[in-house]
């Protein structure tokens, strides 16, 4: 006789048998080595002796720990221990239950003689002869209850049956990962058959009808599959009609359907259980009463067979009636089913007597999209990659479907109010998953930004953030930064070009160009004028409606202007609003909304003058230094002059002080050039140089820099008020000495009168070489006095400064760039706020790493 043992792909298998019953052999034969955890192995780990019975307690602690870890990660786990005692099995079952997985027992029951013989051949097993009979007695006692303890229990009696047994892996019922769609996921129908037919027709399904004209199936010519989130029945006018149609679709493979709580209750009612016929159940029972017995039986079987959730499309999509938290995806237990059918209720009720639901979606951080219904909402809304499709069709709302993977919504209006809602549908109290039933906004969690092991990026893999840097960023982010919904990007830092060896220069175009030429992977670079201002990231929406719909900001603001540390650029919101109006007008006039097919854009800009943002710094640091120098140096020169007249040998000190006075004057001119009075927006200029992202597209990486500079120029041309300013730029062919000479001359012209310099970047996409910087800056000689001090050009200083080390800065620039691109990718793809914020936060955290601030 061959026993076929079915074990779940994800779950716990407990081998039960006396010592010497052949459990280890059985496990080796049927399971992978890493799937099997044996008590002997654990005993060995904690004592170096697999038979040291005094180590048993610690060994089982370890065994339980490993089992728990594996089950948490959804791995099939086989426990190879005698497990003849009930309490030993109970502790394993508890772990399985905690992780919501099925458990199977396999009993290997061999005659005592066989076990004793086997043990005798193993000299290390020299325990007394009484042990096996005792184990066997315990096993016998436990056999009766095994069936109750485990989902399934197999008893293999005798060595023949044990040797003949086969083990097959069984997929979980909810595991339909092989189905990749495309899907049309349909919200709560509640007996609204006509609306369902309308919706399916709109979605392109062809409806099959029986002789009586009743819809009995629907097929999509494009091969799409409908997925129903449950609650097909109750309240509405034709629950049997809906069942007939959906049953037909499911039977024909045109649809999947999960159970809703209303199906569960209807099943109990049809089975004759005592249930209260509230919430529209009475209508269903009455309508089904008019059907024939055959249909009723079929409907009962259909509803009874519905499972509570599906995992689809390789694990990327989960459908459950009331949603499902990540820990429960693909799991099977009573509480998983309860969550899927009823949601995570807090046990409290609201003012209408309806259950208060725990806002699981707000905390959801899973990768899979979760689509559900159950709680009527005025309009479907994405919350952390989850969406509720119950738009209250039966209450006179709409019947809604989500097209997957397109993420597009389709809906049809209800033909009438079929059922009066207990609480008003359109009120804010009717929305999804919220505590107290209120509209739920995205709430960030501390683990989104702290101790999360870093951020996974497309460009560089995992970028780690050290705890102390994250904590520093936490302070800045929460005390000073703009609203995270607007803080969608922070600009990465940029390393300077390698240090120049030219006399009098610390930075020069030769090294900036060589940086790319020597790597070989880049042939053309863009050289952009570096304005001496302050970095500004401008996020602007076409109108307040876009701001509300796309960014969830409903206070009327239509964007933000933030600094490189995420602070609002202007203290006065009215100034921000005015600037956004101007930028918006220019984008409109340039036709970019349509051209880029978006209702919002994020622009990387420099805001001038420097003094607009940095006035405090200018005064307390730069002007103060200049003032002290102006007061002290001439007086020192005078004293030295008198001493020289006395004939004292000053050893060059006098000349040195005079030279320093002249350096100080140049330093003053260097900062003064970037200062001019501003009042509100007057005097302010904004120089955009990159379109970072719009709906569906991270333009920063999707277009070459010449495209960005041309768009920037168009924006400047479309702003008659002169707020938007052009940025000079050129390109260079790295193979051409003439091109290099032209760029050098251009840079010299830009910097001769104190201009900040230029930024050099690969013109096209960044090559796949971790050593190629996304950009390098090349700053002007006079400008650098602000950075390195008035006297940095003195040979003794310059020589020392040439020893500056760029390694950390370069590494930082690469990592921040990867994070910046990641934030834009996530933003453009419509990922949840926490995903975008995580990458943005990490940039700020990295910025707190100690790196020479002069670089």
């Amino acid at each position: 006789m061959t026993t076929e043992i079915r074990v779940p792909e994800m779950g716990l298998v407990v081998l039960v048998g006396v010592s010497g019953s052949g459990k280890s052999h059985f496990a080796r034969k049927h399971f992978a080595p890493t799937q099997v955890i044996s008590s002997d192995f654990c005993r060995g780990i904690v004592s170096d002796d697999e038979n040291d019975q005094s180590a048993t307690g610690d060994a089982f602690d370890l065994l339980h720990y490993i089992v728990a870890k594996r089950l948490r990660r959804g791995l099939l786990t086989v426990v190879d221990a005698t497990n003849v005692q009930s309490h030993a099995r109970q502790s394993l079952l508890r772990i399985a239950k905690e992780h919501d997985v099925l458990s199977v027992a396999i009993v290997l029951d061999v005659p005592e003689r066989v076990a004793a013989e086997r043990n005798a051949t193993r000299p290390d097993r020299d325990f007394g002869a009484h042990v096996i009979p005792r184990q066997r007695r315990e096993l016998r006692r436990g056999l009766r209850s095994l069936g109750r303890e485990f989902r399934r229990a197999y008893v293999l009696t005798g060595t023949e049956e044990i040797d003949a047994a086969t083990v097959v892996r069984e997929k979980a019922w909810n595991d339909r990962r092989e189905l990749t769609g495309p899907f049309d996921i349909v919200g709560d129908v509640h007996g609204c058959r006509a609306e369902l037919e309308d919706l399916l027709r709109d979605l392109g399904y062809e409806i099959d009808r029986d002789a009586a004209g009743r819809a009995v199936g629907a097929t999509h010519p494009g091969g799409r599959t409908a997925v129903f989130v449950g609650d097909l029945v109750d309240r509405g006018p034709d629950s049997p009609g809906v069942l007939r149609l959906v049953m037909g679709m499911v039977a024909a493979g045109d649809a999947l359907c999960v159970s809703g709580n209303h199906e569960a209750k209807l099943v109990r009612a049809l089975r004759g259980r005592k249930v209260r016929t509230t919430h529209g159940l009475a209508e269903s029972l009455e309508q089904l009463g008019a059907e024939d017995e055959g249909f009723r039986a079929a409907a009962l079987a259909f509803m009874d067979g519905l499972i509570s959730h599906y995992v689809l499309d390789g694990g990327r999509l989960v459908v459950a009636h009331a949603g499902l938290k990540e820990d429960y995806h693909g799991r099977a237990s009573g509480r998983v089913r309860s969550f899927a059918l009823y949601g995570d209720t807090t046990g409290e009720t609201d003012e209408y007597g309806l259950p208060v639901r725990y806002p699981w979606a707000r905390d959801y951080r899973g990768k899979a999209m979760v689509v559900y219904g159950h709680t009527p909402v005025p309009a479907p809304e994405w919350i952390n990659n989850t969406i509720c499709l119950d738009t209250g069709a039966v209450f006179g709302g709409r019947l809604t479907a989500l097209r997957y993977p397109e993420r597009e919504l389709a809906s049809v209006p209800a033909r009438k109010v079929w059922y009066e809602p207990v609480r008003p549908l359109a009120s804010p109290g009717a929305a999804a998953g919220g505590a107290g039933g209120h509209r739920e906004l995205d709430v960030l969690k501390i683990e989104d930004v702290l101790a999360n092991g870093g951020v996974e990026t497309r460009l560089m893999g995992r970028v780690t953030v050290r705890e102390e840097n994250a904590l520093a960023a936490l302070e800045v982010m929460s005390r000073f930064a703009a609203d995270p919904r607007w803080l969608v990007y922070l600009p990465p830092t940029m390393a300077p070009a390698a240090t120049s060896a030219l006399p009098g220069h610390l930075e020069h175009p030769a090294e900036a160009l060589a940086a790319y030429r020597d790597r070989g992977a880049v042939t053309r670079v863009v050289c952009e004028q570096k304005h001496m201002g302050s970095r500004a990231v401008v996020t602007v929406c076409r109108d307040a409606a876009v701001a509300a719909a796309r960014f969830g900001v409903e206070d009327g603001t239509t964007g933000a202007v933030v600094t490189r540390t995420g602070r609002p650029f202007f203290r006065d919101p009215a100034t921000t609003a005015e600037l956004l109006d101007r930028v918006r007008a220019a984008i409109g006039a340039a036709g970019l909304w349509d051209e880029l097919d978006t209702g919002w854009l994020v622009l990387d800009c420099e805001l001038l003058p420097w003094s607009a943002k940095a006035m405090d710094l200018v005064r307390t640091q730069y002007a103060a230094t200049g003032a002290a120098a102006r007061a002290a140096l001439p007086m020192a020169a005078g004293a030295l002059g008198r001493a020289a007249e006395r004939g004292l040998d000053l050893g060059g000190l006098r000349e040195r002080v005079e030279r320093r006075a002249s350096n100080a004057a140049r330093f003053r001119d260097a900062y003064a050039r970037y200062c001019r009075p501003v009042d509100g927006l007057s005097g302010i200029q904004l120089a955009p140089f990159q379109v970072l992202a719009g709906e569906g597209r991270a333009w920063a990486t999707a277009r070459d820099h010449d495209w960005h500079m041309e768009v920037a120029a168009r924006l400047a041309d479309c702003d008659p008020g002169g707020l938007l300013r052009r940025t000079e730029w050129t390109t260079a062919d790295l193979a051409s000495p003439e091109s290099e000479a032209a760029v050098t001359a251009w840079w010299e012209r830009l910097t001769a009168d104190g201009g900040e310099g230029m930024v050099v970047k690969p013109l096209g996409p960044l090559p796949d070489d971790a050593r190629v910087q996304p950009g390098v800056k090349c700053r002007g000689r006079e400008y650098l006095r602000i950075i390195y001090g008035p006297d940095y050009t003195e040979p003794e200083h310059l020589d020392r400064l040439r020893g500056r080390s760029l390694g950390r800065k370069r590494s930082l620039a690469m990592r921040e760039h990867a994070l910046g691109v990641e934030a834009l990718d996530r933003l453009a793809a419509g990922e949840p706020l926490w995903r975008v914020h995580q990458a943005v936060f990490a940039v700020l955290a990295l910025e707190s790493e100690p790196v020479d601030p002069r670089l």
Partner: protein, 493 residues
């Protein structure tokens, strides 16, 4: 960078003996941060000028500082240190004129004890408090003071004056006293020191201040500034000064609002001593009243009373700052579980010290002080959960208005304790503070201050959204027109 000392004493060149530096020589002295040069621009019998020229090397200067120094920023590379008369100059003086400062002269033992006519010039003295402060510190010592402000930038007249003055001191003085006074008062006026404070700073101050500091009317302020507001050091120094003066210690510890560090901690300068002072003045109007309890204390008492009333024994202080409320909770046996969180690491470090809490030690099950940790109220945090009550004492006004919704969702929606106590200034009351300009707020970091109606509107909205009831309690003396200085909301559900 430059100090000149001129005497018009007959036999003016005696200055060379006093300073132990020959008038006809140019001498250099290497310092850790540069080179000090001593030379005499003038040296005849009628007038002799010694110049100390300090050539600060900014690169060396940076290297004398550890990476953990407060400002690892551009400011340490481009700054006024090479030009200004700061603690660097004081250091160089101590090094170059050590013997003169001790009042010794072996060649001419009678000279140091003799007051001589002196003129001291510092072309660029950083002077916090402006010319008046220089006058205030130097005049009591017998100097005639001329302090001329240096404009910030002549090209930008509207920027006004810089914090530098060109200081000229004239008087008849023992040279050693003059040097010691400069040694102490240069960094005091600058109010910034270039090196870390070590305990021997107290000794240096006592030594240099011998004979003049104990009698100086501003000795408290001078000591405090010199020791850069390090409380421990300040107290030790004040105590020793008191001994020298034969005065009680308290007498030397006047409350000086100006000396409160504005950004050093989460302490609130306006709401702290200033408003307390205002409060006390208000109290003085009614002479029969005993001295008023400071507002900060009344606020703590009101919060503790509200917690008791609601029988909230496990309490988390959200925005605990340096842990003042936590310390009070710990002292009160009524409270069985106490936790605090703040976003400022600096404030937390103070709280850890105050409560002797080791953040690195594993948390003990059942400990009364459950945890004191860094967190932000704009992020939902499981560590905020599990308490009977949360206290937000003077916290919400530090939150930007667009972020208040997030804070409310985190506190009332996510942590959702049974009781939430919120205190915040009553903006209407600000007109009662003499020191506060109309429309100004009590603390530079306040993002707003609410009137009573505004606070109620916010509180009602939060309570309705998250299922709480709220009652309001005025804290501090209630003014019939403008209400109490602090308003408190007690939310329960």
């Amino acid at each position: 960078m430059l100090l000149t000392i001129t005497t018009t004493h007959d036999q003016a060149t005696d200055l060379g003996f006093l300073l132990h530096k020959h008038p006809d020589r140019v001498q250099r002295f290497e310092q850790s941060f540069g080179t000090a040069h001593v030379f005499y621009p003038d040296a005849d019998e009628g007038r002799c000028t010694a110049a100390l020229l300090l050539d600060v090397d900014p690169v060396k200067l940076v290297r004398t500082r550890g990476r953990g120094t407060p400002d690892f920023s551009l400011g340490q590379y481009v700054n006024d240190r090479p030009y200004a008369a700061s603690s660097l100059l004081a250091s160089a003086m101590a090094n170059v004129f050590r013997t003169a400062m001790r009042g010794r002269c072996e060649a001419r033992p009678e000279l140091p004890g003799t007051p001589v006519p002196l003129e001291v010039v510092l072309p660029a003295l950083p002077c916090r408090g402006g010319p008046a402060q220089a006058e205030r510190f130097f005049a009591p010592l017998g100097w005639t003071v001329s302090a001329v402000p240096v404009p910030l930038d002549p090209g930008f007249a509207d920027w006004g004056d810089s914090r530098y003055v060109t200081l000229t001191l004239t008087g008849t003085m023992r040279l050693s006293d003059a040097l010691n006074q400069l040694y102490v008062l240069l960094p005091v006026l600058d109010d910034a020191k270039h090196y870390w404070l070590a305990p021997d700073e107290v000794d240096k101050l006592i030594r240099a201040g011998e004979g003049w500091l104990a009698a100086h009317p501003d000795r408290g302020a001078i000591t405090r500034r010199y020791l850069a507001n390090r409380r421990g050091l300040v107290r030790a120094a004040l105590g020793r000064l008191a001994d020298a003066d034969g005065a009680p210690e308290d007498a030397l510890d006047p409350v000086e609002v100006e000396e409160e560090p504005a950004s050093d901690s989460t302490e609130e300068p306006m709401d702290g001593p200033a408003s307390e002072a205002a409060n006390e003045q208000a109290g003085e109007a009614d002479a029969s009243e005993p001295a008023a309890v400071p507002l900060a204390e009344r606020r703590v008492q009101a919060v503790l009373a509200a917690l008791r009333e609601e029988d909230a024994r496990r309490v988390i202080d959200l925005g605990c700052g340096s842990g003042k409320l936590l310390a009070r909770l710990v002292r009160d046996g009524f409270f069985t579980g106490i936790a605090g969180t703040d976003v400022s690491h600096r404030a937390l470090a103070l709280a850890w010290r105050r409560l002797r809490f080791d953040p690195r030690a594993p948390r003990r099950e059942g400990a009364r002080v459950v945890d004191i940790f860094q967190g932000a109220l704009t992020y939902a945090d499981e560590r905020f959960r599990g308490y009977d009550a949360a206290v937000l004492m003077e916290v919400v006004e530090h939150v930007d208005p667009p972020r208040l919704g997030a804070v409310a969702r985190v506190v009332f929606g996510d942590a959702a304790p049974r009781v939430v106590v919120v205190t915040t200034p009553n903006a209407e009351h600000n007109v009662r503070y003499d020191g506060l300009a109309p429309g100004a707020m009590r603390h530079p970091d306040h993002r707003f201050e609410w009137t009573r109606a505004e606070f109620r509107a916010w509180a009602e909205g939060v309570a309705a959204e998250h299922g709480y009831r709220v009652r309001y309690v005025p804290v501090g003396d209630e003014d019939p027109e403008v209400g109490a200085p602090t308003q408190m909301g007690v939310f329960t559900r």
